[in-house]
Symmetry: D2
Subunit: 343 residues, 4 copies
Amino acid sequence: MINIGIIGGTGYTGLELLRLLAGHQQAAVRVITSRGEAGTAVSDLFPSLRGVCDLRYVDPADVDYSDCDVVFLAAPTGVAMNHVPALLESGIKVIDLSADFRLNNVDQWNEWYGQIHKCPELLVEAVYGLPERHRDAIRGARLVANPGCYPTAVQLGFIPLLEAGVVDHKTLIADAKSGVSGAGRTAAVPTLLTEAADSLKAYAVPGHRHLPEIRQELETVADEGLGLTFVPHLTPMIRGMHATLYARLKEPTGDLTTLFSTRYAGEPFVDVMPAGSHPDTRSVRGSNTVRIACHRPQDSDVAVILVVVDNLVKGAAGQAIQNMNLMCSLDEKAGLAAPGLVP
Amino acid sequence: MINIGIIGGTGYTGLELLRLLAGHQQAAVRVITSRGEAGTAVSDLFPSLRGVCDLRYVDPADVDYSDCDVVFLAAPTGVAMNHVPALLESGIKVIDLSADFRLNNVDQWNEWYGQIHKCPELLVEAVYGLPERHRDAIRGARLVANPGCYPTAVQLGFIPLLEAGVVDHKTLIADAKSGVSGAGRTAAVPTLLTEAADSLKAYAVPGHRHLPEIRQELETVADEGLGLTFVPHLTPMIRGMHATLYARLKEPTGDLTTLFSTRYAGEPFVDVMPAGSHPDTRSVRGSNTVRIACHRPQDSDVAVILVVVDNLVKGAAGQAIQNMNLMCSLDEKAGLAAPGLVP
Amino acid sequence: MINIGIIGGTGYTGLELLRLLAGHQQAAVRVITSRGEAGTAVSDLFPSLRGVCDLRYVDPADVDYSDCDVVFLAAPTGVAMNHVPALLESGIKVIDLSADFRLNNVDQWNEWYGQIHKCPELLVEAVYGLPERHRDAIRGARLVANPGCYPTAVQLGFIPLLEAGVVDHKTLIADAKSGVSGAGRTAAVPTLLTEAADSLKAYAVPGHRHLPEIRQELETVADEGLGLTFVPHLTPMIRGMHATLYARLKEPTGDLTTLFSTRYAGEPFVDVMPAGSHPDTRSVRGSNTVRIACHRPQDSDVAVILVVVDNLVKGAAGQAIQNMNLMCSLDEKAGLAAPGLVP
Amino acid sequence: MINIGIIGGTGYTGLELLRLLAGHQQAAVRVITSRGEAGTAVSDLFPSLRGVCDLRYVDPADVDYSDCDVVFLAAPTGVAMNHVPALLESGIKVIDLSADFRLNNVDQWNEWYGQIHKCPELLVEAVYGLPERHRDAIRGARLVANPGCYPTAVQLGFIPLLEAGVVDHKTLIADAKSGVSGAGRTAAVPTLLTEAADSLKAYAVPGHRHLPEIRQELETVADEGLGLTFVPHLTPMIRGMHATLYARLKEPTGDLTTLFSTRYAGEPFVDVMPAGSHPDTRSVRGSNTVRIACHRPQDSDVAVILVVVDNLVKGAAGQAIQNMNLMCSLDEKAGLAAPGLVP
C-alpha cells in the first residue's frame, strides 16, 4: 500500500486527487494539509466526500511526512519549492502539480512567474510528467513536474506531427478552450457563474503562463525553434478542455489518423478516434483519457487536430496519479479506469 | 460472475447502467438490445465508452437471453410488459426501470399510462425496488419494479416522518426540481439547450405520472389516505434532483435529524447530514448516495426536508444495480462506491 | 428630462439601472458613484455599455447631487441610510434598492441586519415600492423602499389569495428558486460557476433576510399573523426567479385564474396566464413583467401559484424605474417596454 | 410606417425578428406564416411575446402580401426561392435570412445545398447583406441575402486585413465558437441540454455550409484565391459567437487596432476595442453590435483577431433589420439601439 500526503488540499486539484484516490486499491491518503482549513474535516469542506474520506486538514507546520511514500503538491505557484528539497531528502517521491518545476531554465521561470526560484538545481533534475513522452524517466524519478492542462492537450496533439517531421514547425497554432475549473477554487469576479456562464472569451492572448512550458517541450521534440501561437479561451463549462491545433503540412501527406494511431499504440490513456471524428469534452468528463481526432479539411495542406481532456484529470490529478503509478511500479491504470460521466 | 442483458440500451438509463457496470467486479453485460441501432457498436453511439464496452446493439427479435442471469429493462413505458413473462419463465431475474410494474392497481395503471396492461397478475408479484423499505422482499424477488427518480427522492424524505407518525398526513407537499436528463434522450423542443438552459419552470402541475406511485407507497407507510401535493420543476442541470418536502408537525417535535439518522442507520446509500445542512445536488453527481437534511424553520410546526439524488443513479440505474446486488446476494455496494463528481 | 444619480453603481443592480435607463426617453443618468472604481469609465468596467454610457465613476465624497431629480441607491445594506436624510433635505426623490428602508419596525430591522439603523424615523415614512399594492402612496412619496426580488415574486402571488380571504393564512409555503445574480457581483466561492453550475440547493432555510419583509407586507394584507414558510433555492441560472406558492383553500373555491385576472386587471406588468399554464423564467428575461399561473392540482384544496420574475428587473432595477416613473408622473411603462430575451 | 411580412416565423430567427421589431417605431409586422402552426397565436408559441404581439400564424397558402412593403424570409434552406420571384414581382422588398441567395455561383449552390436552385438569375441580382461592405448596394436592392452568423463574424474580422493587404492570404484560419441557437429550434438529440451543456466540440471540420459563402466574399476582397481553414465549434451557450482569427502578417506591421478603427470609423454597429482587449460574447447578448479586438502575441508575425457577435442579432435578425432600415431609407440604427443584456 502506497501512503500518500497531499500538500494544499483545498483546491480543485486536491479535491480531484481525493476523489480519484478513493477508488485506488493500492494507495491511500494519510495526511492532507491546509493553512486556512487546519482542523476542518475534509468532508465538511467537500460534502461529496462524506463517507469516503475521514481525514482532517492539518497545518503544514505540524505535519510529519515520515510515513509517506509519495507527496503530491497541489498548492499555488511558489509554494512547492519551499517543501520539495526536504521531502526529497527524506526519501519521499514528490509529484508537484503546480508550475514550480516545469521549466528547465531558471531565468525563464523567474521571468514568467515573477519570483526568484529557490531551488534551481532541482529544475534540472525534475522530470516533466508527460508519460506519453517521458515514461521511462518518470519511472526512475524522485521529482516529477506534473504538466499543466493546456500543455497536456496541446503537446499530445502536436507530438506525432513534430516527431514525424510532417509539418512546418513555424506554423503551429493552438486554439484552446478551457472549462472554468482551470481557474481554480478561488473567489474572483470573472469566474462567477453570473460572469462566465452563457458567454465565451479569449484571455491572456499576449502570453499565457503555460506557453513557455509548451514551447520548451515541443522544441525538444522538433529539435528547433517553433513558431507557436497559443490562444486560450474561457468557456462556460465546469470541466473540460478542447484544443484545436493547426499546422501546415510540408507535403500532401498520408493518413494522419494512422500516424497518430501508430504513435500512441499501447498508450493506456490516449484514444485516437477514426478519421472524421469530432470528440466532445464530456466524453472524458471525470476520466483520464485523452481523445484525439485528425482532419485535413478540403484536402488542404493544413492539419487540424482535435484534442479533448478533462483539465482536472488528465490535465492535473489523473495524470499525477498515472505518474505515481509509474514511479511506484504499480499498474499504470490503477485507480484511473472509470469512463467519462455522460450525460 | 453475473451475466446481464439490457433491453433498450440507447437511452440515458441504459448508458448509465453500462457506465456503472463497467466498474462492477462481479457482473458483466453480455447483451444489449436496440431496435433502431441494431448492429451499431455501443461505443459509436456513446464514445465515452470507447475502450470500455465492446458490445454491439442487437435487434430484440434476435436475442437469446438464455445465458443471462439478470435482465434490466430500460425501455419506454409499455415495452417491458411484453418481455417480462417470458423472461421470468426462463428463470431470469428481471429489473424493470420503466413504470410498467410500479403500480399494484391495474385500473390505476391503465388510467395513468393510457394503455391496457398486458400482465396485470405480475403487477401484484412485482416488488417495488426501494431497498430502504423493501430490502428483504427484493432479496427474494424474481421481478423488481425500479422506482422513478421523483418517487425515490420524495419517499426517502417522507418515510421517517410518516413511519414515526409525527406529521399530519393531510399536509404533505413535495416541491421537486429535476435536471433535464429526467426527460430522457429523446429529441424534443422543450429540452433543447436553447429552451431549457438558463431558465426554470414547473410542469405537469395538474398531475405527473410519478404521483400515483408516490401516493401508493406512502399510503402503505402511513396506513391511511394522504393529502399530497406534488409539483415537479424542470431546472437547467444535466443531472440531479432536489426534493424540498413540507409537512405540518403534529406537535413541537424532538430532533428531526435524530429521527432520520436512526431510521437510516446502516443504510449504505443514505447520508443524513447534520442539522442545518443544505445538500447540493452535485454532491451526489454520478453517485448512488441520497443526502438528506432536516429543518424546522423559525421553530415553526413545519418540517422542511431537503433531499438530493442523482436522478440517473439512485433515481434509476444505480438503484437498479443496488437491487441486482440484493437479488443476487452480492455486496449491496458492489459497483456503486464512487463518490460524487465535484466540481 | 429627469436627471438621475446612482449611488453604488458597480453591482448588478447598478448595471441593470444603466442598461434599462439607456432606453428611457425622459430620464438620463448624470452621475454615478463608486468608492473603489472612482475615475474608471463605466464602459471599461461593463463593456456592454460601450457606446451607450460615457460616464465615469465618481467618489461618493466628491459628488454634488444638486442637479439630480432622483437618486437611486444601489449599495449594500447599511449604506443608504447614511445618504438618504441629506438627499431628502435637498428635495431629491430617493429610491433605495437595498434593504435599508423596507421594514417599518426598527427593532426588527436591527435584529435581522445586525446593525443599528441610523434614521429610524424614515423607516416609517418610506413607502414600500410595490406598485401593485401601493401605487398611490408611491406617486406621492419622497422615499421609496424598493422591494427585494423574493418579496416581489412571493407577494404578487399571495396578495390576491389573502385579499380575497380564500386561503387559510396559517398554511402559506413559498418555495422560491433564484438565479445566481441574486447574490450580487461579489467574489465568493459558492457563486463561482464551478460551484453553482449544474447543481441546485436550498439555502438559508432557518431564516432568509427577505422573510421579515414578506411577512410584514402580507400581514397587512391578511390583517392577521401568518403561518409562512419560506425556502429559497440557488439555481444554475444567471437571472430569473420562480416562486412556487402553496396555500390551503378554505373551501372548494371558484376559479383562481379569474380571481387573479380581476385583481391585476389593468396592471401594466402583471400577466396572469390562462389556467393550466406553466410560465418559465426566461419568458421574462430582461423584462419587467411578472407572469403568474394558478393551479389547484387534482381538484384538491391546495392552491398552487406559479410566479416568475427577472430578479434584476421586476425584482430590482426595473421595479425601481417603475417607481421613478410613478413618483415623477411619467408613463409607468416608460423605458420598460422590451419583451423578454428568448431564447 | 413600414409594413412587414415574415415567412417562416416559428424558429429562432423569426422570434428574434418579432422581439426586435416590437421596439421599432417605424415598422410593424402585419403578417407571419407557418405551415405547422397556422391558427396558433404567436404568443401561445412564444409566451415572452404575450402583450407584445397579437398576431396569429397564417398558412402560407392563404397569405396576401399586398399590404407589405418588406418581407423577411426566415425559413429553412430551399423555401425562400419558391417565394421570392412572386414577391419581387409585386414590388415588395425581400430580405432572405436563409442561405438561398448567398452564393453567386449556381453550381456551387447546388453542390453545397444538395438541391437544384429554382431562380438562379436572382442569385446574381441578390445583394449580399453585409452593410459594412455593401451598404450602397443594399440601399438600392430589391433582394438582400442576409449573411449567416459565422460569415458575419469571420468576414468582419478579416476584411480590414485583406483590404490593407497586410496578411498572407494563403494562411487564414478561422476558429469559430457558436452558441447552440445557431442550430435552430428543431428537435434533435445533439442539441438537447443533456448533450450539449457542459461540453464543447468541433463539428463539420471537413466542410461547413458557411465556408463557400465566406470564401466567395473574402476572395472578392482579396482579389485572389484564399487559403482559408474554417473550424466551427458547438459551445454550451444559448446565444453568442466568438471567432478567433489567425493570419500571417507579411511584415512587422504597424498598429492593427488603428487599422481596424480606421476601417470601421463611423460604422454604427462595429466596436473596435482598445489594443489588448478580450471581448466576451455576453457583451453583445441581444444586441446588434460586433466587438473586435486585435492582437499580435509576443510580437510575432501572426495577427490574432477576436470577434464577438450575437448569432441571432448581428448574425441574423438584427442584421436583417439593419438591412431593412437601409433599403427603406430609415435610420440604420432604428430598433437596434439596445445594449447587451449583462449579466
